[in-house]
Symmetry: C2
Subunit: 316 residues, 2 copies
């Protein structure tokens, strides 16, 4: 499989993704312990918090407190997310690493149902958001196409629809002379399969060969790792992931459904395929175990329970 990339960038979303869906409030100090542990594994970025209304996401009520208390490991990006300009302004007031992200949903119905905006309105909103980023000197280098592989309202999404959304996002950026480096294709509600990955990645790459593509995969139906493998086989080098398989997708109506692809299991796959990640897998497994001890229940990650192969290889 000579098409496999030599290296991959795996972005950690566990603290934000994982804690925001917890019912019980996770103490601020525990959040900081997990962030610190993850930052020491070699991961290039740790997404720490979400600046959302604590009325809806009580576990993010201490977002500022977490952001302000982080003791930085050099070279690691500590990031947060927000859903609107108010959240962005809250993020601006913290020492987090700011990066602007544009996004559109491939499924217009999903967009209307989740954010009450059709495509034209989304474009307008994204222009306003981009202007706010630029006015505050926040770098904008990445965008997301949500529901890029399917949607519970519209069903399968044609790859050509994803291509159209990518074009719309790139146009918004180009209007302001912004060059987006990375386009993330998000399997928001668990519709992706390896053939769909090939079709969408292939079509987007054919049209924009210089655009770096990434995958945001959820393990909703248990085949995220197969989708990641196909992504790697297609040369995809950027992945979002959550340690211990933290998180879930409550907003999509999947109660108990799985969250993001598990970071340390994905790192294991990469390393076994000879793909460098810069991550110390054994240290990351310890982070996942810390997450499990913080939440007090078994988490879905697999290698965190079996251990890596290092000890066996050393003994053999």
């Amino acid at each position: 499989m000579s098409d496999l990339p030599k290296s991959a960038i795996i972005r950690e979303e566990g603290p934000r993704e994982g804690f925001q869906s917890e019912k019980e409030f996770v103490p601020t100090e525990d959040k900081l312990r997990l962030i610190r542990s993850l930052a020491e594994t070699g991961l290039p970025e740790v997404q720490c918090v979400s600046f959302v209304n604590p009325k809806w996401v009580p576990n993010m009520a201490d977002a500022e407190e977490v952001a302000n208390a982080i003791e930085r490991v050099p070279g690691v990006r500590y990031t947060g997310i927000w859903l609107n300009l108010k959240g962005f302004e809250r993020a601006l007031a913290t020492p987090l690493d700011k990066h602007g992200t544009l996004q559109m949903s491939a499924s217009e119905t999903f967009s209307i149902r989740n954010s009450n905006r059709n495509n034209a309105e989304t474009v307008e909103e994204q222009r306003r958001i981009l202007d706010a980023y630029l006015a505050n000197n926040v770098p904008v280098d990445r965008a997301y196409v949500m529901t890029a592989f399917g949607c519970n309202y519209e069903g399968e999404i044609a790859p050509e629809t994803v291509r159209d959304r990518v074009a719309m996002i790139l146009d918004i950026a180009a209007e302001r002379d912004v060059k987006l480096n990375t386009m993330m294709l998000a399997d928001t509600v668990g519709w992706a399969n390896p053939e769909a990955i090939s079709s969408v990645v292939g079509l987007i790459r054919e049209r924009w060969p210089e655009l770096q593509l990434g995958l945001h995969l959820h393990d909703t139906r248990g085949i995220a790792m197969a989708n990641a493998l196909r992504g790697l086989e297609m040369g995809v080098q950027v992945f979002d992931a959550a340690c211990a398989g933290l998180g879930g997708c409550p907003f999509a109506g999947h109660k108990g459904a799985a969250g993001n692809i598990c970071t340390e299991d994905l790192v294991f796959l990469c390393h076994e395929l000879g793909i460098e990640t810069g991550v110390d897998l054994d240290a990351l497994i310890e982070s996942a175990r810390l997450a499990e001890s913080i939440l007090g229940r078994q988490l879905p990650g697999k290698i965190m329970h079996s251990g890596s192969l290092r000890q066996y290889r050393q003994a053999a």
Copy 2:
């Protein structure tokens, strides 16, 4: 991906694999309910029990009772396993579908540690077992190579070693004019990765193009579905699996480690890739949920918690 097979045979091991590792005794009636439910999904085979010493595996103490009480769904094979001739004799006395299986470990150290036999002694033992099968008119059509991708004692296993074991097994069969149809490559302790799958499957197929190959995958380190995908891409058409991801691998020293690849998640992957399995996925999801309700705790399967895509596709 034109090399994907048109169909796959997925053998269900959940009742045996899952219940044998439970600490609390699972009532016989519950075992029968799960077996019945699975048999109605279109699965071609349900492995129901293990004829082992109940002193070591208390949950299999009712193996005969289960085997005798099964109400058959036509066309389904109801099978059991055994570890020695004594277990085989117990199985013979039941109405289960008998099939003889030969097996060797690719790792001789694993064989010595787990069954106290080196390769030469294993060959002798397998000859005795084959003779017992033939003396009782039990068909022998399948064999397993255990630890085909790695071993906690020996580390990586060279594909050539697996080829040697396959040759030894085929020789044992050929001595008695037995033709083995299927050779199962077992990732007994979770060492497989997609490249290793390609190497081993490729080497065995090159030597014996007519031999049907199958994969027995454990999700010990979270990449079983990626391994299954690579297997399918290599044309592998036979898989062992356990509904709801039941089971585990306690004997290999992985406390809390994952069991077999999850049947319904694998069926979902196959169907999304256009590979027929003959299985009603929604019915199988109900079986997995039944397993969860019997054991009273969340099981690791994914699509059983999110549901299939059928309802969304119908509505879209």
